[in-house]
Amino acid sequence: MTGLLRQPSPDFDMHKALAADGSLLNEEEQSVDIGLLERMHAAMLRARRFDERRLRLQRQGDLGTFAPAKGQEAAQVGAVSCLEEDDWFVPAFRETAAALWRASMEDLFVVTAGWNEGIAMQDGERTLPDTVPVASQLPIAVGIAHAGRRRGEDSVVMTVFGDGATSEGDFHEAMNFATVLGAPVVFLCQNNGWAISTPLEDQTASTTLAQKAHAYGMPAARVDGNDVLAVQQVTEEALARAREEGRPSMIEAVTYRMEVHTTADDPTRYREEQDVERWEDYDPIDRARLLLEARSQLDEGMLDSLESQIEEDIDAAWDAAKARIAGFDDAAPDAVFAHMFEEPTAPLRRQEKQFAQPEDDRDD
């Protein structure tokens, strides 16, 4: 007998709000919050310039390696702008734009320069630091969300991850837990087409990533990740569902990683320049700017002053970061030994003493 096995038939149109040229699609159906769009555009531009500066500084040796987010600004800003203060943001490690929406450039500089102290968040206990092991933040996000519900909060958790993460066991375990427990999580997948050198077609045989949510009984949407309005619209629906019903959903934001995986990567080894160039036509910042210009909210002069302001802010942040870094003591025992436990254990106290007095004076 044949025909007993059913093929997957994912039905996932990509949601769009803007055309490639920045003009609104379906204008009647959309109401645009221009003020918000301005802020989002500025935030995206700021993130782009910040990463460019970080890249320069890294090549100068002032900063360590990091994962630049060029091309993904809309996927991040469009989503994170929907969050309320009480909501949690649990990133992977490429969320520059989202991080800057909720945290300071100075802190990011300090972290990228290799100092634990930079992790200390301003306000925003609820914006977590980067998670390096891929997908491992996902079960944690579910736990945070579940605990928040148990405590009677209506806050939600937004967690961000990439296309590669959907292959990891933790992704599946987290999705499963989220639906079984009923946890208010928005799983935002930035599908930027690459996991270092692994293109999407080698990462999964699924037609889309969003359809994986369906396997867990979770609703999902697929959205043009370079369309900041579209991302925002989809996110609002997902957040409402989480907040009001306490249930999770997944968003696949289709975008492209325009830059290197991290500063230690050479993409010319595995992809063609023209592929990258094709995506420039869909640059998220350009599209938002074009819409603003079309609505007479932005002109060249304003753009220039925005750019200058951003430049100044970055300079100031870097100076402030440098000043802070200058005050750090390499070998400060408390910086090295602090925060291992609520109270240091006896072996730690002993070691800290040894660390502080390397030559003579050793206890043992």
Binding site: N116, P129, P139, V142, G143, G169, E173, L181, E342
Partner: protein, 331 residues
Amino acid sequence: MTEKSEGLTMVDAINKTLHEAMEHDEAVMTIGQDVGVDGGVFRVTEGLIETFGAERVIDSPLAESGIAGVSVGMAMNGLKPVAEMQFSGFSYYAMAQIENHASRIRWRTRGVHSVPMVIRMPFGAGVRALEHHSESREVFYGHMPGLKTVIPATPRRARALLHAAIRDADPVVFMEPKAVYRKMRETLPDDAEIAEIGKARVARKGETLTLVSYGAMLHRALEASEILTKDGIEVEVIDVETISPLDAEGIAASVARTGRLLIVNEAPPSYGAAGEIAMRVIEEEFYSLRVPIRRVCGWDVHVPFFAREQVYLPSVTLIAEAARELAETRG
């Protein structure tokens, strides 16, 4: 849970502890495979779901990493999860979450967030179990900075140590020697005792030689000591209880008196806890040593299928012989 007049087994004691802790603090909850309706495959969580409800006793999907990761998140956001790994042999799935996050979040966030969670798991050989159900890998956890690892040897101490673990503001791995689960009974005091994590316990006083052990092997150590006492060899038996942070000072203080140290555990010898304990004693009390330090351990092999389980484990005779030799070697 039944409380017979002759005392509680370790399973009973842990069960009682969970009841007490969840009663005492609403934030304490339990999560794991089969812990709710089934009461746990060893019945350790028996009765909890009936008393505290499904919100606080979660029958989780079969996903150790998920259990651990979700527990980390819950602990970060105000709860005190006591997560169960059904067997220590399956806890490796969860190791990434434990090493990458549970042990790090306080440090990573400079104290803004912390992870007050407990991960319980049965470990060790001696119940004729299937493959993967008999390992002793406490050093995997003992080696992780930012994590505490505790091993009780008796029902009473299991209660005291688990209460301490649940109250600890940081993540604790609580490894339960399943060979002891139902092996002995003890009367427990009415009021819950809270142990001090990081302090070894003198299980038996003596002057001739110091024997350090933990878990199921502690009982073999005590048996060996009773054999030797007939020959005037008085063994001081120390129960490590906390693998990490190790009470090196406490152990060394005993060796300072006896000059002789024997370490007994069931784990493979190479890179095991016995080596760490020996080194710490050398650091603290080298000049008290009259003879070389010795260890009696398992072997660097996988625990055989259960027909040979007892051949693998250090026997009371072997332990007594080693102790006797140390006691009788002049130094």
